[in-house]
Amino acid sequence: MAMLHIVNKSPFEKVSFRSCLNHVKPGDSVLMIEDAAVGALDGTSFSDKLKTAMGDVSVYVLGGDLVARGLSEDRMIDGIKTVDYAGFVDLTVKNETTQSWL
């Protein structure tokens, strides 16, 4: 049962993103939206935590939320995939269940 985990809080402000990564199962997917998009950048105090999780789970970011905050895809951790709203829908279809980490 693969699950899509949706995170929308900055990992620098709230623990929900970390808690999500502490509860994901291999084969799950994590999608960063809204303020969580800032977690996609490499070279941050959070990036090692996300890189470790990426061994077992696929990680996505909503591109519009990234560029809205002045951040570009070339600054992201290698392996994170950018999706648009249609890609967001595809992820919800591909996974049996979803969980929002508010």
């Binding site: 900055s10 303020d35 800032v38 941050t44 990036s47 909503l62 560029v67 809205a68 905050r69 002045g70």
Partner: protein, 134 residues
């Protein structure tokens, strides 16, 4: 009435919540009352003044250009915390080039962003008479 030292403390990223925009609106109002206004950008607040913000993909108004107008309202002390940038993989090069024109110096353009470390930020906060946190 003597001007008071006001500081607006910005700690949230823009667009995900309404705090950044609300702060900016109150800052502009405070300018009309000719107070001695400073802005602090700490924690996720540093994302408010990144350059190249493009909100076409999220259907929200891009208000980042408004920060460029603050200098015209004599709001020219924007304190940005170094450690907050570093923790987020950012440098001052990632921020907008925010400036003001000094009428006492032949309208010379001067930088509004003042990069400070955490202890210097604490000192600036300690000097304030009124602090509003967003």
């Amino acid at each position: 009435m003597a001007a008071k030292k006001f500081m607006f403390v910005n700690r949230k990223a823009p667009y995900g919540t309404v705090y950044a925009l609300e702060s900016l609106e109150v800052v502009l109002i405070s300018a009309a009352f000719e107070q001695d206004v400073s802005l602090a950008f700490i924690d996720d607040g540093v994302y408010q003044i990144t350059k190249g913000q493009n909100t076409d993909g999220i259907g929200q108004k891009n208000f980042s250009n408004t920060y460029k107008a603050l200098g015209d309202y004599e709001i020219n002390k924007l304190y940005v915390e170094k450690e907050s940038l570093e923790e987020r993989g950012l440098t001052q090069d990632d921020l907008m080039d925010l400036v003001w024109e000094d009428e006492d110096d032949d309208w010379a353009e001067k930088p509004s962003i003042i990069l400070v470390d955490r202890s210097e930020m604490a000192d600036v906060m300690a000097e304030q008479e009124v602090t509003l946190s967003f």
